[in-house]
């Protein structure tokens, strides 16, 4: 009679950081991220950083006389919490009209409600960490950018790239399987 052995748990590996930190091996996954450029390629365990996601390529918006409606990022390019619990977002704003704002907002569902997570009011080249596991910029579900309506001439030129990462404030790692 054949002995059938079912493995109920994957093999655990002791982290090199210390005997008390037992980390479940993170399965390799393909970086099939949305965005331009060549994707693919497996990522070894412990390295949750994959190829960066081009959330918004360099884009310039301009108008004269204002804009009566918000300009919102198309849904197909929204970042999703299904891919990673934490994103390190590089936000480059080479031009932003005075008094105007570029917002990153989040919602648990595509339908909303959308809540502002972080706002930029001036030219910048910065990295913000957005995490669903806590921290100062907490998001839930989906992330998108938004340019609010205005009654005056305005312009904005910016790029946003994101790299999935880990929330280094804790030792708990949440593997994401794609």
């Amino acid at each position: 009679m054949a002995n059938i052995v079912k493995e109920l748990l994957p093999t655990v590996t002791i982290s090199s950081k210390g005997p008390d930190q037992i980390v479940k091996p993170i399965p390799t996954f393909q970086s099939g991220w949305q965005g331009m450029g060549s994707g693919g390629g497996s990522v070894p365990a412990y390295h949750t950083v994959s190829r960066s996601i081009r959330v918004q390529p360099w884009m310039t918006f301009e108008t004269s006389g204002g804009c009566s409606e918000d300009i919102v990022q198309p849904a197909r390019a929204w970042l999703s919490g299904e891919q990673a619990a934490t994103y390190h977002c590089k936000v480059e704003i080479s031009y932003l009209s005075s008094g105007w704002t570029l917002e990153l907002e989040s919602s648990p569902t595509p339908e909303g409600p959308w809540v502002e997570v972080v706002a930029f009011t001036a030219q910048t080249d910065t990295v913000v960490v957005l995490s669903s596991e806590g921290g100062s910029n907490k998001f839930s579900g989906y992330i998108r950018w938004r340019l609010p309506a205005t009654t005056s001439d305005w312009g904005a030129c910016f790029q946003i790239k994101a790299t999935p990462g880990i929330n280094v404030s804790g030792i708990t790692m949440t593997p994401k399987i794609v």
Partner: protein, 122 residues
Amino acid sequence: MGRTVEMQPWITIRGQTGWAGIMQEVEDWLDTSRYSSAVVRVEVPCLSSCTLYLEGCDQSGGSFVVSGTFGTAVTTPSLVYLLRQAPFGASDRLSNLLRWRVVGPGSDGAWTACFRISVIFK
């Protein structure tokens, strides 16, 4: 028979005073290693207070050489001829990687660039 590649679709970028410039993203640099020559077609209908450079390098970590410089807007496309074999000057050589870079005036003011770049390979 040659092959045409759109190295950069129409793009408009702006920078406020102090923003040094914008370089084409690494993922979009053009790999030309399979070709022996290229004609780079650059359309620049708008270029204000900045310079558009076409640069080449044989490897991403190496030193980039300027293959073309565009300092003013033009109404007709400009062509840059690049060859992989001698005789050629350093700026006429077709490197393995091509990229564009826009450099603004730095602290001297804002800038704007609108352009498109296509490459015909052979």
